[in-house]
């Protein structure tokens, strides 16, 4: 039960982060150049991840669970460590924080600068919306398919992803601005911790490990990954302060 809840939460957070990024792009071109082409581009792009999940979900469910967990756990662990690495660098000040307002402004600047053609579909708006939603959507499909594959049950991950889609879309429609007040960097940190935790757990199970405490060890692993990353952030913040001090004018 704890595993299922953690899975839904992890899927919700990961998918929400990707959807916020897609929403910023669609809002920027929609507000600047018109909604018709932006929405057609978004609708067309949404079909692709839906097809990937619909095709991969049932296919993954028939593969042997141990091999699947070994493979999916390994991929999730590599993927999660990459997220966690970036989150640690952001939290310690070594990497710029993700800023949806800045991305929104940059997309709007580019949208204003691009030439307009005729009165039919605005291909610039269509292409930018399509590309943004398609790429972020593929990432969502990847997360849902891997989570679903490792559990032999795509439902919890799909529920998390759908809940994220509904929440982000409703909030986006309500505020009509990029969701810059959402603590996106904290969410990315949490996603990195959760992906890494699930990656360790599933890769270990797939490799034949018997975790002490069985499924309950997932919570222990979560605390361990969180603690390790917090220690690294603390150490790097001290290093960052030293670097800043050394670089400050006398």
């Amino acid at each position: 039960m704890t595993n299922q809840v953690l899975l839904v939460v992890a899927s919700f957070l990961a998918c929400a982060v990707e959807m916020i990024e897609a929403l910023t792009i669609v809002l920027a071109v929609g507000v600047t150049r018109g909604w018709r082409s932006a929405l057609i581009g978004t609708g067309t792009a949404l079909a692709a991840p839906a097809v990937v999940v619909a095709a991969l979900g049932p296919a993954l469910a028939v593969l042997p669970i141990d091999s699947l967990r070994l493979f999916v756990g390994g991929i999730l662990l590599i993927f999660g460590l990459q997220w966690l690495r970036k989150a640690i660098l952001r939290s310690s000040g070594f990497k710029a924080l993700h800023d949806e307002d800045a991305i929104f402004a940059e997309e709007q600047r580019a949208a204003r600068a691009a030439a307009r053609e005729g009165s039919g579909i605005d291909w610039y708006t269509f292409t930018v919306s399509f590309k943004g939603v398609f790429l972020e959507g593929l990432e969502v499909a990847f997360i849902v398919a891997t989570f679903g594959g490792a559990q032999h049950d795509v439902a919890p991950a799909a529920i998390g992803a759908m809940a994220a889609a509904v929440v982000v879309l409703l909030v986006g429609l309500a505020v009509h601005r990029p969701l810059s007040r959402v603590p996106e960097n904290t969410m990315k940190y949490a996603v990195g911790v959760m992906l890494t935790t699930f990656g360790i757990f599933w890769a270990g199970e797939g490799a034949g490990v018997a975790w002490p405490g069985s499924d309950a060890s997932l919570v222990g692993l979560l605390v361990y990954v969180l603690g390790t990353s917090a220690v690294l952030v603390w150490m790097l913040r001290r290093r960052h302060a030293r670097v800043e001090l050394a670089g400050a004018p006398a």
Binding site: I75, I78, Q82, R85, G208, V209, T228, H240
Partner: protein
């Protein structure tokens, strides 16, 4: 061909990211756990330990002040 390369690049950036050593380290660690757990003993502790070490090395290298 260009589209294929772009598609491959997207997945490489998405999964492997900025430090390929993390991917290599994870693959080797899982391989060792797989082999040892079947032949010797249940080394459940190895993966969590490897993750901490890999992460520490990666962020340390990324933030170490460069000498001129």
């Amino acid at each position: 061909m260009t589209n294929l390369r772009t598609f491959g690049r997207f997945w490489y950036d998405f999964i492997i990211g900025d430090d390929w050593r993390l991917a290599l380290g994870v693959t080797v660690s899982i391989g060792v756990v797989f082999a040892v757990t079947r032949e010797v003993a249940d080394w459940w502790w190895l993966l969590p330990l490897a993750v901490a070490a890999l992460l520490a090395v990666s962020v340390n290298d990324a933030t170490r002040p460069r000498r001129r």
